[in-house]
Structures are given as structure tokens and as C-alpha cells.
Amino acid sequence: MKGGFPAAAKASLADSQLRRNLGHATSTIRAKRARVVSEVADWEALREAGREIKERTLRHLDVHLERLEEAVTRAGGTVHWARDGAEACAVVAQVARAHGSEEVIKVKSLASDEIGLNEALERAGVHAVETDLAELIIQLGDHDSQSHILVPAIHRNRAEIAQLFRRTLGVEVSDEPSELTAAARAYLREKFLTVKVGVSGANFAVAETGHVVVVESEGNGRMCTTLPEALVSVVGIEKVLPRFADLAVMLQLLPRSSTAERMNPYTSIWSGVSEGDGPREFHLVLLDGGRTDVLADEIGRAALRCIRCSACLNVCPVYERTGGHAYESIYPGPIGAILTPQLRGLDQAPTLPWASSLCGACYEVCPVKIDIPSILVHLRGRVVRETGAEGLGERAAMGAMARVFASRRAYEAAQRMAKLGRGPLAGAALRPWTRSRELPAVPAQTFREWWKERSR
């Protein structure tokens, strides 16, 4: 949307149903997360371990990726290196074609959404069937799109979903969750049993052993990764972990941070192919898609530690009110505000680093300790220095104020001017402020004038 986040947010803020759905969903999951995290005595040590593993891995990413390739190949899989989304999509389309399949079944995968896989496959004559319940809801809706990393249909309530199912699946359902899931299950079961190619992402990929890990709640992921003839996993290069033992840390951090569960219902771990068990073909597509560029930024690169838990979305006071669509990216919320501009290029999303009040709630809950507020500030600086997005008016005002604060005499002169409603320290230019808030009156005497008078 033209106008970026502020304009898109304004539209979302006006949607009272959305505000209600989001407020309810985020406050529920916030409370649940706080409860299950408080059960873990060494949570802070776990976070620190998670941070350390990810940081160390990113430092030698090339080495770990090559080890991963070796291990997967040894286990009978095929590894593809994709520079960008187009290359990754082409691999998936090619596998589908090789199996004569006009459909693929998909496990919920952010990487695939990031690169527009479904649309690319559609253009190649292959229909991707989303099998995660919320993803299915999004796919069935007209022009709907994901608004949360983990709960992509968080902006919909069950009454809206029942209506959607009646209309698109032609089934008679009430808005009881059990009826809704039964309807989805009946539709999906047939797909699981007939479609020949499965597509997934991965939460983790282990360099040491070649294991790929998918963490999920509904069992659809287990179906997609075991039933088809061929499986393609599209995985961002930052998902690699050096050792199998590293999973011991990550699989504790992720469920409590994401679904607020002690343990997630399904964890699928496989390596390559096994004779007589599961897919006969396994392809691992390692996606760069801008990640190498992110690595080049010493401060911004910490965003690549993200394990996509979405805890930062659920605690963010901005996200809670605007919802995910305002971020215009598959990665919304605080993590999206630092990830999207880095993956796409700062000039493609220059307003996102400002989509935060820097309250710091995100950093507090991040299981791998990404200091999101500091990265936001860093990216704001880069936007100002490297793009023209912030406009000349702001630059001039900031420059004038910097000069005022650079000298005591200029500062005291500006304070005197402010009493007359003029100069760089007067609030006259703050129209967006005064639309909803009063500005304080400028008092007759500044503090320093009072101090001087008193000291006489």
C-alpha cells in the first residue's frame, strides 16, 4: 500500500471486528505463554543457550551448510541450492512434473509463502493444497492472506470460518470448533491419500546428521512428510543447526514460546530416504533469498536467529492493534519489522522499522534473545542514511534541533523562542500529535531559569 505501514495500519485500526478478534487471541496466548515459561526454572539459561547456538552457527554458516548437504546426500536425499525464490519454486515445480502430479500437499511453511510458491506452482499448472487448518482457511477465502506467523487466520473468528466452510466446501457446519475441524479433516484426508508430492518447510535442519525437523500441532505435517511418493522441503539457509544435540535446547524453547505448550503434539524428524518407509524421493532446497545480504549487516544479522515462534507478535502492543496485514509481509509484528526490510531491501519497506514504540516487550520474550528494539533503531539509521524515504522536511527539522542541542546558548535561545510559540523547540509542527492529544502549555519559566534565580 502506498504510504506503507502508517496507511495500512490506519485501515486495520478501523476494523472493530479485527480489533476484537486480535485483542482476545493475543491476550489469551500471552497469558498462557507466561504461565508455561514460568514453570521452567532455567528459562533464562535456555534462552542464552538458544542465542549462543544460533549466533555461533551464523558465524560459520557456509561450513554448516556444506556439512548439511553432505549428510543429506549420504542419507539418499538430493540438495538444491536456490539463490532466490524463483529458483526454489522451479525445483518444486520440476519435482511435481517428474511425478506427473497436478497437485502437491503442503505443510504450513513460511519460507514457501515468502517466495510465493503457491502462485508460482499455479502458473506451472500445479495446485498446492494447504493442509494446515488455518492455512486452509486463508486459501479458501477470497483474497485473504496470513496475518500471523503461527496463527495465520488469527484475524478470523469461528463464526466467520463456519460461513466460509459452508460457502466453499459445501458442508453444513455450525461454528463449533469440533465440527469445523471435522469438515476440514474430511476434505484433507482424501488429499493426503491421493496426492503424490508433498511440500514442507523446516523448523530446523541438522548439519551433523542431515535430519530435517518439522514441528506442528495438527498431524497434517506428519501426513505430508510420510505419505507422498516424493517430498520437497524448502528451507531458509539460517535454519541449520550444527549438532543433533542442539535440538534439545530448541525443542524446549519453541513450543513454550509459540503455542504456549510444554511440548508440541507432533515433531517429525527424518533424514534422506529410508527403504520401504516414507517418500522414495527427498529433495532439500536451501534458500538464500536475501539472507546472505542480511548476514553482511553486523547488527541486523541477529534477525536470522529467529525460530519463528511468534512470541514477539503476541506481546507487541502495535501488532495487537493493527494486526498482521498492516505489515504487508508474511513476516509481521516486531520480527517482521526487522526482517522484511532486510530481506527485501530497505527501500522496499522503509516505514517498517518505525512500526514500533520501542517498548521492548518483544526482546523480553524472544527465545533466542534478538534485541529487536536495538535493531529497529539501527535500521532506522540505515533508512535515513541510505534511502531518501524520510523526506527533506524531517531532515531539516532534525538538523535544526541537532544544532540547537549542540550549544547551550542556542538551546537557551530556542527555549525563549518556544515561549513565544516559535523556533525548533515549539510544537507547532506537531499536527499528527494534536489530532488526538493536547500539547502542554509552555511555562513562563524554564527549570534552568528557576535554578539560576534560586542560586542568586
Binding site: P317, R380, M398, P443
Partner: protein, 243 residues
Amino acid sequence: MRASLFITCLADTLFPQTGQATVAVLERLGVQVDFPVEQTCCGQMHANTGYGHEVLGLVRRFVRVFGDAEVVVTPSGSCAAMVREGYERMAAEAGDEALASQVRALAPRVLELSELLVRRMGIEDVGASFHHRVTYHPTCHSLRLLKVGDAPVRLLRCVRGIDLVELPEAEQCCGFGGTFAVKNADTSTAMLTDKLRRILDTGADVCTAADSSCLMHIGGGLQRSRAGVRVMHLAEILASEDA
């Protein structure tokens, strides 16, 4: 103890009563307060808006003005956090290692008012009286960057005559966020509206906090809606005494 007052440009220019109250409380407790007049602004607004590279001079100024202080005290959690958490990073990003080490030496001596009183001086009862219903909003930077914890609440609990009521969802941001309040005015206002609703639900006649900036935001909203509830800085309540 001798404390150098870092007033902040906002309180200096717009909320002098907060500075006066800070001086009154400290002097009542026997602290010798001085006010280095060469101070201006800590540079947080520039830094957080992406113009940090233009105000490295303010980091140097702060170190020059306050470098020799025994303790620097400020009635702002946010500005204290800027110095303690932000300055070293700014100096490092500018590649000025000498400045970074000066900042490291000074930062631990920069304290927000409630930190100085409760954590450093070990005082909770400052001898104040205030006969009103009050609710306390923990500002984000005092809470999450400085980690002042319950220091402000401990001080408030000891105030004679006060009816201190808890603010529901107190730890949610009020939506100020510096230039966020202007650049994302709609989102900021939505956050503010929810904060105001919770403040009004408490039935308090005063909302207090340890930051003039957040109070300017909350107060600006209360005033616009003619709510009949006022904001007062923590220092002003602590300075209040029975006549």
C-alpha cells in the same frame, strides 16, 4: 552525597515543576544537588528516529558535563536508559573506542530518581504526604531497560494519605514512543485509548510515572477527552508535604 541533576530537555523546557520537585525531595533527604548548566539534551529523539549519527556530539557533551559527577540523577527512566544502554552502542558504531570507554566509566553512575532513592540510598519513605487516589504506570524504558522493578511503587506505598490503586495491564506501552507518536499517530492513539480506559477504570484522580514524556502523552490524551484525571510525575508526589 552529591548528585548532579540531569534534568532532560523536556522537563527543563516544559515541566520545570518536575525538576523542582526532584531537587526538593533530594535536598529533604540531605543530598547536595548541583545543576551543570552546560547540559542540553541526551540525543534520544535523534538516535531513536534514525539520526544518531548527527548527535554523537551530544554523547561527548554529556560525558564532558557529567564525567566527574559522584552520581547523576534524572527524573526520566527513558533518558537514563539512553545514556546507560544507548551511548556505548552509538560510540561503538561511530568507531570511537575512547568515547565508548568514557561512557562505560560514567554509565553506572547515571540513575533514575527511584533507583537512586531505593537501590542506592536504601530509602523508601521520603516523608511525603499526598491525599489522593493514585495509579502508577510503569514506563517501558524504566521497566525493561533500567529494570527499576518495584522501586517507584515502594516509594509510593510509603507516602502518607495516598490511596494507591493498581493499574490493570500496567506494563503495556502507552503508545508514546517518541516520534512514533507522530509518525504512527493512529496506532499510537489506539494504544493510548486503551491505556486511558484502564486508568479511568481505576477511579484514580492522578496517574503517575517516572517519565515526563510518557506523562505528556497520557496527560495530553486525558486532557483532550476532558477526563478530569491529571498526571503528575513521581517526583512531584514524593515532594508533596502536608502544609
